[in-house]
Subunit: 746 residues, 2 copies
């Protein structure tokens, strides 16, 4: 059952000094029995944090310990003695959110007002970060899964001293060109870990971040040197809880035992449609227990500050399971007329209610004002953060001395700089290499890459033996073997995609791949879009990429998927035709560090073709064979993937009849479009309008390459359950069809 | 906690006659203490089922009872006394599956072999259906959510006497042109309720089927006449349990208290990647309890036949909650070397193992053989089914006499024939009507339609007040008010879509609509595709359809969505520009009974345009204004939705400069493509190559209409958080851009 921390429990918990001090920067005085006690920070300066934290760390010497290694001198820590400073800081957060939304006349004030206390505690007392280097590797990660409440995060980053959120940024909330968009965007605002807003994504991203930490810690930490050691914190709302993707990801987090993942569930009982009673009456705590989580319930999230603190401590103490801290709050806390209603969820309060809230919370300040004592207090994070990073760097130097090879690997993961010549490990093929399915050739590539890319890891949504995604030299990443690199996602495509977004955004050198049948990109499309938007270079290994999968039928046969994914911005859609092109596709996928790549791969065997090349793949479209001269073939045949062979075979026949035929592989439309016009003209000369395309998918979009006189051979209907060869015949995806179409031009 | 029915419990449960007889066709002798007792059907003929079941029904006279009204003479019921007949029938199912997969050399024998007992009990003892009329309205529904196990379903339909699955159909399993495709397809095989295969869809469909039953029962049943009264049964596997969509749908089923939904969870511990231990260790029963379900665990699903029966009775007795019956089985039961391994999940056993299994289970017959006594036994369902339907029809006649209006409404729902002139209620607009967002105009349409279409119901995924989807004359469909028609899905887009697929496939006159922001079609794309494939005419009300939503930013702004959905087969993508077109779009959506429709609607206000028309919408593309003659305008401007107004305004300016300009609305590409060439030529004459399109989305695909010389104004990047007007300006979606593009042709 969920434990609900009563105040007395919280107190008794906190009276155990070993619990209290080992995992927190909270000064002792803040542990007084009353949350309204006189000075939550008053004796901070009298305690050397570095002493306290290093002693905690030292106590673990000789053990493989997950206890945090804390450091940093805090001599600069402000000697604040104001009894009401905590409250004042919380209200600062609330009013920054209120004022920014009011100025923008758009936004979501309700969540920041309700979650300000937990935000304050996390960013001021719990989390380790360096505001002047938001990318410090060993920082604690925070994810606002309920992304609409982003003003909470912007206010916290602002107070904590991140350069990315200045006062003028708060004042330009949701405006063109600002760094404070309407939902948190990692690519706009340093300090934002992942892009959230679409509900459920953030918690799944956080599972990925926590997985990355656990994996790297298991691989690189040494008994004497814990070089990887951070927590991942999340705030999720009712909406996140309802989304299936969060259940998928949280089921995996429980299965993997990600003990350093701590999720706050902002239980405010309000969503856009009103009271959650109308659609959401499940027992969330019990569900999380069923998923293998440790569950705590803080019943007074509005003013029960010590309860929140105690819950975090309890969560940290449970190391074998992730923790859900359900925090019951009042949405729009402080607004006398709108709190606890959906009207405060997603609209500005309005001038009148802003005034009323100012009165109600005793806030005499102008909009966007941060009181001097609050400002002064928060300034300690700048020196603290610098000290934390410096101490970690010193530790890393020691690590590098002692463990050279591991340090080199970890460095590659931290920096995203890959070992020189990594691409040389990719397998090579000739036309004499045996015919094979590109899914099998893909497995050869990823097994080769796994040997040279330290951050390479991944897996399938319960289709490893169909997607051919196992790395043979590694075992499974599991609770007891987190150092391994084969991920087993179960039948959870959406969760898989969102988790991989978290993994890849953990560190520049993390390279996750994930796999399912190509048709099931539909299940994870929201995650793929978030990867594209977030500039998160996940690699999608999508096999069974056409009717060529045969008997499983139309529910499993992609038709519109190539077109629908080609239409998505900042995504590379690659459909290699043979081993050479598959290797090329992997090279592209690894090199592109600002966009994800989808590899569409065949279930069925394909011949190794003459004329394919890695360089060709890099250009997206290229000539694989041509018997014409002067850039004037009689006809251009083009195709992708499994149909390129059909085009090549058709060309052979047409050439026998004396025709000058060019065969073009259009393996990636996006890359081809990026080439200079002169190159494109050299491949698809505008003077040649006799063009035929063939692809076992929708013809939607092909007009761009075949031109107005061209002919597109494809499938603009759903597929059929039957052996693959028969479907190809019946739906006219054949050499004969290509020849007939070509001859229509002669 | 989950109740695990031990045999003794099952027995003690069954010794209560009132429990035992009231809800089942099971003859008394089958309730003997041993599952291997002599005759599970022996005294059937000596008991008049009609007497038994009618007396059960009579006992409820005067109450609003959910107890089934049973009927039918069973004089024809086979007087089977063979003690092993049950077992023999179960093995018949197993071997039909084994043999069909073997012949196809493709398929999934494991599930049918493990689930044959529960399938047998359901189709032979529990479910009410008429094999000669698979569309009988009041039939029990069965959904095989683990669709890959479809040979179980085909075998059962075959034995039960459905004309759709003859011996030759079993022999052509997974072949071109057969009625037995590789996954169950409702549009191929009468008797299949919904299309499954993509995991998790079926259980969510079943929630929709059960919702429809509960809603219709609440609306139409009378104390003396229960005219709507059936159960919905499901078999789901481990994969279905892992998918987030199933958690979403099951959370709603628990919230709604759908007591007549009974789901079997085939707990066989094996998925494609092997033992589910590697990715799926949550406590499923506890999760379902948290979701508000009644949970039963049958620990021996292989031979514990009486436990299965008792569990079903217990499930039926619990009327206020859906029931999950976890049935622990052995995948591939009977196969001596492959049972309980993933090798039996998705591949033919192979000749050798088929032989071994035949020996192991004592099966001396040729492939596809149905023993005579098994055949004879099952034949009772033909007369039983006819009698059940006849009795229901008699009851309906009585109902029609007593409750004329209700009967007319229900008939419309059953037949899918709408009241004459229904389309006349759609609101009309003129250019003088006030400017309004199409989401608001949409609400006017659906409120109008709700008055005349008895099967019209729907709602939003927690965005009712943003999507504008409330029907003002109705309350919320809730546990205690199931007669109401506003559905509240919570933040569960995928579940919403899949539930609507179930609702619409319940009866031809059910017309569900569902709503979210257009960008979140990504979350429910798998459900939308299943609707398109299943010929399920769900209406998708998708608002906030472009950058015009403004400040919420790129996570919420659709870009590629129009293109990606236009690429999907059998789906109508409609983007109306004003009130008239919105009404036209609804007319189209209602009229198309074999394909779903998506309406993309604006958040922002749009002018009512001159020249728009419902008839125009019906043709997909049409001229809204033109000052040219002889079908030779100087330029054609085309657009959709909110950008049509921009095109019209640009035309006004160009005309002032003396140009002959045609403005074309391309509200639905699919409908336009279906028009005769002569019509298309009249709208887009091939002689006019000066064409400009404008749409606030990806330009992908527009080439088809603008031609190789045309100019497409659109957005081929992600959006931005800012006020809408600013984004339009910055991204160049403006009148000025259209004019400039047009002038480039002059």
């Amino acid at each position: 059952m969920a434990s609900s921390l009563s105040l007395s429990q919280a107190i008794s918990f906190r009276t155990s000094p070993s619990h209290v001090y080992s995992n927190s920067r909270l000064p002792p005085s803040s542990l007084s029995l009353s949350s309204s006690s006189s000075s939550y920070l008053k004796s901070s300066a009298s305690v050397s944090l570095s002493t306290r934290f290093l002693s905690s760390s030292h106590s673990n010497l000789g053990l493989i310990s997950r206890a945090p290694v804390r450091a940093a001198s805090v001599d600069t820590l402000e000697k604040t003695t104001d009894a009401t400073l905590f409250e004042k800081s919380v209200n600062t957060i609330r009013f920054l959110a209120i004022d920014a939304v009011e100025k923008a006349k758009s936004g979501h004030p309700g969540l920041p007002m309700g979650c300000a206390p937990m935000g304050q505690i996390l960013y001021d007392e719990i989390m380790r970060y360096n505001p002047k280097n938001p990318y410090w590797f060993n920082r604690d990660r925070f994810v606002l899964s309920a992304g609409h409440g982003c003003m909470l995060l912007y206010a916290l980053l602002h107070l904590a001293g991140y350069d990315s959120v200045q006062e003028e940024d708060l004042k330009s909330f949701r405006q063109w060109g600002s760094r404070t968009p309407g939902h948190p965007e990692n690519f706009e605002t340093p300090g934002i870990e992942v892009t959230t807003g679409p509900l459920g994504q953030g918690i799944a991203n956080a599972v990925g971040l926590a997985l990355a930490e656990r994996h790297l810690a298991a691989r690189f930490n040494k008994p004497d040197l814990e070089i990887v050691d951070h927590y991942t914190y999340v705030i999720m709302g009712d909406g996140c809880q309802m989304e299936g993707v969060s259940n998928e990801a949280c089921s995996l987090a429980g299965h993997w035992g990600l003990g350093k993942l701590i999720a706050f569930y902002d239980d405010n009982h309000i969503s856009i449609d009103g009271d959650t009673e109308i659609a959401f009456t499940e027992d969330v705590n019990k569900r999380f227990e069923a998923l293998g989580w440790h569950v705590i319930w803080v019943k007074n999230g509005n003013t029960g500050y010590d309860e929140i603190r105690a819950a975090i401590k309890e969560a940290k103490a449970v190391k074998d399971r992730p923790s859900l801290i359900k925090v019951t709050t009042t949405i729009g806390f402080g607004s006398p007329n709108k709190a606890n209603s959906h009207s405060v969820h997603g609209s500005a309060l309005g001038a009148k209610e802003v005034d009323a809230t100012r009165k109600n919370l005793g806030w005499p300040y102008e909009p966007f004002h941060v009181p001097e004592d609050v400002k002064k207090h928060w300034s300690w994070h700048i020196s603290e953060g610098a000290a934390l990073e410096a101490q970690w760097k010193a530790k890393f130097a020691e690590y590098e001395n002692k463990y050279k090879d591991e340090a080199a690997e970890l460095k590659s993961i931290i920096n995203g700089e890959f070992p020189a010549g990594w691409e040389k490990v990719l397998p090579t093929y000739t036309p004499d290499s045996p015919a094979d399915a590109t899914r099998n050739l893909s497995q050869q590539c990823l097994n080769a890459l796994a040997k040279v890319l330290p951050g390479f890891l991944g897996g399938s949504a319960d289709l490893a033996s169909s997607n051919m995604t196992l790395m043979k030299m590694f075992g499974n990443f599991q609770k007891d073997t987190p150092e391994e690199r084969n991920l087993r996602f179960g039948v959870r495509e959406h969760g898989m995609g969102s988790i991989c977004n978290g993994i890849v955004l953990h560190s520049p050198g993390m390279i996750p791949y994930c796999a399912t049948f190509f048709v099931f990109t539909d299940y994870m499309r929201a995650a793929i879009r978030m990867a594209a938007l977030s500039q998160a270079p996940v690699i999608y290994v999508m096999t069974h990429d056409s009717i060529g999968l045969g008997e499983d039928g139309p529910t499993h046969q992609p038709i519109e998927h190539l077109a629908s994914l080609r239409a998505m911005p900042n995504l590379l859609m690659l459909r290699p035709a043979d081993g050479t092109e598959t290797a090329g596709a992997y090279k592209i996928a690894i090199l592109n560090r600002k966009r994800p790549s989808i590899l569409a791969l065949s279930r069925q065997k394909l011949s190794q073709l003459g004329g394919t090349s890695v360089e060709g793949v890099e250009r997206g479209g290229y000539i694989i064979s041509d018997n014409s001269s002067g850039n004037k073939p009689d006809v251009i045949l083009m195709g992708t993937g499994s149909e390129l062979e059909i085009a090549a075979n058709a060309a052979d026949e047409l050439r026998k009849e004396g025709k000058a035929v060019r065969v073009v592989s259009l393996v990636s439309w996006e890359l081809f479009e990026e080439q200079p016009d002169s190159y494109k003209e050299s491949v698809l000369p505008s003077a040649v309008s006799a063009r035929v395309s063939i692809e076992a998918g929708s013809t939607f979009g092909w007009l761009k390459f075949i031109g107005s006189r061209g002919k597109a051979i494809g499938i603009d209907r759903f597929g059929v359950s039957a052996p693959a060869g028969r479907i190809y015949q019946e739906l006219g995806i054949t050499k004969e069809a290509v020849i007939e179409a070509a001859k229509s031009f002669f």
